[in-house]
Amino acid sequence: MADILHVGIDLGTSRSAISASNGERFVVDSFVGWPLDMVAKKVLKREVLIGHEAVSNRTMLDLHRPLERGLLKEGSEKDVEAVRELLKHLLRLVGVNGKIDASNVRAVVGVPAAALRTNKQYLRNSMKGIVDSLLIVSEPFAVAYGLDALLHTMIVDIGAGTTDFCVMKGRYPTEEDQRTLTIAGDSIDTQLLKLIEERYPQANVTVFMVREWKEKHSFVGEPPARVVVTAPVKGVPTEIDITGEMRTACETILPPVVETMIDLLVRVEPEFQERVRNNIILSGGGGLIRGLSDALENALKGVGGGKVRYMQDPVFIGSDGGLALAIDAPEGDWEKLTA
């Protein structure tokens, strides 16, 4: 019997990561683009571009971000195709269809909780045939599994399209244990772009530039340093100070995140609430916002205080969790989960 490759995939709205049992790990931007016309195809010399390459060449592409706002749009063939291309690309990166045959791959795919809530069947069908066996789980659950944080823990996964909350109670999370907000990294980008445009109407700024600045300089609370970036103003590269705008934009996510966190906490059985409060784990790119865990801990003081930890390796935390699930799933279960 050929060697089986287990993989964990974090299919995110902004970035997708893969961790494989052969030790390979990769991350790509969750963008898929097809050349707009024959000229673009000739220039790009490719049928489809994925990840950073797709973003860099976006002017020549029909660009898709398949899980925007955490959902796979039902009925959108291009988005389904984009998910399939993204998965195939990730698998190719770890050697599938090179040295390893797709029929020997067992994959756990973590998706935003909102995508699972709306249509599991559709999501599953759209991934059909790419690997031998497929287990789809919610992303915060994969994170919790990978960290052995399955009991009295809350995962707050701040991604690009959604912020997913999940309270782990020693069981597979149900609807009641999870919440999803569409206020996340993308909404910060939108807000930041708006604020910069208001203050510097002459500056020519795109959402892609804003996203890059946010990833480098985001913070809440007191600024760690001035945020000065370069943007073209009437075509001339000019330094602009966006410290205040960055803070305001990043802080927009605080009220809804705090409210949802506390709302989930008060639904935990009273005797376990303190343990959950002291076991809150921030994951996802949004967790990189400086000062966020302190701000959340401050907010928790109103309900008795708590501890918010941020994992140092947010990029692979979900895919590593998925890989752990894939390896732990019994052989008999994989046979039933044929994709």
């Binding site: 749009k73 039902e74 009925g75 809530r117 709306t118 249509n119 599991k120 069947q121 599953r124 497929l134 287990l135 789809i136 789980v137 659950f141 599994y145 052995d148 399955l150 009991l151 020693g170 069981r171 597979y172 149900t174 609807e175 009641e176 919440r179 999803t180 907000l181 569409t182 206020i183 809804p256 409210e259 709302d263 008060v266 639904r267 699930l325 732990d328 799933a329 279960d333 039933k336 989960l337």
Partner: protein, 337 residues
């Protein structure tokens, strides 16, 4: 010891994750959100609220020589299916249980922009119902999300979606309320223009049957499905909730829009068997927010400012309903079944 416990929990959650995926492969409803289970859990959790007053009512009825209350008490405490009694039985035997006994907070709202794709709905010179409902839906979504509601839209762009799929999306998303947005057209009476809001119920008005038939065209359900859906559904527990929501939406729509259009009539809150109201599990209403067959109103509906006013009115109606049902949230009581 701790490690052994973690391993045990890991095995259990993994087994549950696999079981959920196998349910999906088999086409079964996900374990955590099977509608019947969900309703059962709501009923079980609320049973004490019901048992005390109902038992008391039954005792008093027996004491005064009445026998009628006993079967009703049995019906309420068995299963949710027992709720599907003929309307007369549930309303006459004992004092009705009001929606106040089920104070479930509203967090997730399904917005259903009527028609779409190959089904334009009603049309006028420059506008179609599908475009108007979609635009109002977008505007309403923004308002609701800003207020902290989670919003699920049955369609985000111009596409054909069967009513069955709209209802399925609403049910699978475990949402709290369902609001369907439509625009009327009364070709025989083009001088009329008004606002009306529907909730699920039988109607003896042939014009409403005709309207429901028109709106139910792209349903995706078979006759067999319909029989199952309609079996006793009119008497189910969410009827009162739907009526309350419809009343609040209608009031806001009429008072807001009347200010812009003094000739607008209040056609009130009505009952009709629209499919999206029949097949959804949660309190559901269908608002006819205008009348395209009236030339003056068609011109107003073509204006973005007027559509924003409609979205504002719908938002205030939904928020009023949510506020009225939000009691336990502040005390930290679980609200979701």
């Amino acid at each position: 010891m701790k490690a052994a416990r973690i391993e045990r929990v890991k095995r259990r959650v993994l087994r549950e994750a696999v079981a959920e995926n196998l349910d999906v492969i088999r086409g079964a409803h996900p374990r955590a959100v099977r509608p019947a289970n969900r309703l059962s859990r709501i009923w079980l959790r609320r049973a004490p609220y019901l048992l005390v007053p109902l038992t008391l009512a039954a005792y008093l009825a027996r004491g005064s020589g009445g026998e009628a209350a006993a079967p009703v008490v049995r019906a309420f405490i068995t299963t949710p299916a027992a709720l599907r009694l003929p309307l007369a039985e549930t309303t006459t035997s004992v004092e009705r249980v009001t929606s106040a006994a089920f104070p479930l907070a509203v967090r997730r709202v399904v917005l259903d922009a009527g028609h779409g794709g190959s089904d334009p709905g009603a049309t006028a010179a420059r506008v179609s119902e599908k475009a108007i409902t979609l635009d109002i839906g977008h505007r309403l979504r923004t308002l609701l999300e800003r207020e902290g509601f989670e919003v699920i839209a049955t369609r985000a762009d111009d596409r054909t979606i069967a009513l069955k799929d709209r209802a399925r999306l609403a049910n699978d998303s475990n949402s709290d309320i369902f609001v369907s947005i439509h625009v009327n057209a009364i070709v025989k009476y083009t001088a009329s223009r008004g606002i009306e809001t529907y909730y699920l119920g039988p109607t003896s008005d042939p014009s409403l049957t005709q309207l429901a038939a028109a709106e139910n065209r792209v349903s995706g359900y078979s006759l067999g499905d319909m029989r199952k859906l309609l079996d006793g559904v009119y008497a189910d527990a969410r009827r009162d909730e739907s009526h309350e929501l419809a009343a609040m939406v209608q009031q806001q729509l009429f008072t807001t829009l009347r200010a812009s259009d003094p000739g607008l009539e209040n056609w009130g809150v009505k009952r009709a068997p629209f499919i999206v109201l029949v097949a959804t599990d949660m309190p559901a209403v269908l608002a006819e927010v205008g009348c395209l067959s009236n030339e003056q109103e068609a011109a107003m509906l073509a204006r973005p400012e007027y559509r924003q006013k409609i979205a504002d009115a719908l938002f205030h109606g939904i928020r009023a309903y949510a506020s009225a049902n939000d009691g336990p949230k502040k005390k930290g009581t679980p609200n979701h079944g």
